[in-house]
Point group: C2
Chain length 315, copies 2
Amino acid sequence: MDQPATPTVLLSDPMLAPFEAALRAEGWRIARAWELAEAERGRVRAIVHAGDILLPTEALERLPDLGLIACVGAGYDGVDVPWCRARGIEVTNAAGLNAADVADHAIGLMLAGWRNILAGDRMIREGRWRENHRRSASASLTGRRFGVVGLGPIGEASARRAAAFDLEVAWWGPRPKPAAPWPRMAGLIELAAWSDILLVASRANAENRGMISREVIEAVGPAGMIVNVARGSLVDEDALITALRDGRLGHAGLDVFAEEPTAAERWRDVPNLVMTPHSGSTTREILPRLAERVMENLRLFFAGRPVATPVSSEA
Amino acid sequence: MDQPATPTVLLSDPMLAPFEAALRAEGWRIARAWELAEAERGRVRAIVHAGDILLPTEALERLPDLGLIACVGAGYDGVDVPWCRARGIEVTNAAGLNAADVADHAIGLMLAGWRNILAGDRMIREGRWRENHRRSASASLTGRRFGVVGLGPIGEASARRAAAFDLEVAWWGPRPKPAAPWPRMAGLIELAAWSDILLVASRANAENRGMISREVIEAVGPAGMIVNVARGSLVDEDALITALRDGRLGHAGLDVFAEEPTAAERWRDVPNLVMTPHSGSTTREILPRLAERVMENLRLFFAGRPVATPVSSEA
């Protein structure tokens, strides 16, 4: 093995600074993309990366010794995987590791919206609970239809939870999955029209940008709800906001946004909406496990061995 | 059958005014407790009642022809059932009918609190989402312990949902249930000490007032959560507030309160708390079904036949 004695690992974003201690403990050199000296570029052999942040190929071209991009979470939509592989750069991620946490969060957003939990909390805190409000009704969930867009690990974990609420489950995704225990609808628009709650759980890529279009949103309809725990890019966010304002969509629960952090004023007076700051996947327990997955891939790579979790080729 | 041609039904609370149309459609006379004329008392044969509101026996004593108290929901803690039965007054309720809705709500309160959904929504709306908050972590639910106090229809439906989140389930209640699929702990304090999330789902009665005591609350502890969808009277609410303020209890989710409506200022600055205005059981779909159950019991009673759903004697 002819790698240099001290490999250099580049952190692509200040958010990844917590990795520094672990990298240092391995004896590796650390470089930071936000303060990268020209002389350091030639030494970078691996990048630790938050997969949804855009990693431009022009920037990668200036790292001649790069061999691995280790994405911290499940997503890698900011990385041009075919471009990397054509140049011998491996890309790893942590698919499935955070599926349970994200699915818990998805069901939490659904219940918080559908059962008016946020609105109820606000009513009490603002002193607006009067006796005649006491029986303020929301819709029941029982017997509703739960449609999953993208039946990966997160979609499956969410569907399994939804089934325990006596929700009927169906799904759609670009590839059939004969082993799936729930029916696959003919297309996205058919799934949306069928669904009371439409969960967006797809991997984002160049092809599915904006696929939750105005037409799909209106097919879910005035009594329906859209929950997005995948990526903001999948949804036509302007159309979603308009539909919520006009009552052509009943509820939305969003953990992800077209731009993150999203601006407060964009959502001012948008009704029937529950939002969280991309926190579905980031529980205290999962963060060390995601970090360990990254470290494992780095160690294997620097040892000249195959990485543990290359991103799936069926991206 | 010697009942008078036009039976009189008393509504015990203004909240029950929506029943008037259905009662009138049956050809029955309506009396209202909040404007009851002395002369009407002798005619009242049945009461439609919101079971958690106190119905004093002194008031019942002044209704000499009373034969039925039909409670609208599952609860009947405001009714002295042994006193009534000793005087030949039947009491009915709608046990089980709203169990799925209340269980959905219970899991919604758990997720909203545990996964910081309300705090996340507030962060975005107040413009406090900064890049470094993006990965703001909550605790993971996976593998946690879900303890159910009171394994009636609501407790069971909640436990079944919790199991789909890969939560470990145990319960405690005053009577063993050999058919229950989850272990019964030796006592309430043992269950509380074992639990990460303690769900209060007991029927309230004179014996269990305040049973979620300071000791029980502290056994759930700084990393734990208490969810109450049963009755406010079951919890020492002052001890709960103190424990949340002092960090000796991690989170609480409350749909019911010692006094309802509860006052906003009572909860001001109480941290890690999600509240709803007793809305767990009152979905739009369940209200007509609860009403139909009441009407059915009234019709049977006025026809001199046994009522459909007398309250369980194992109260």
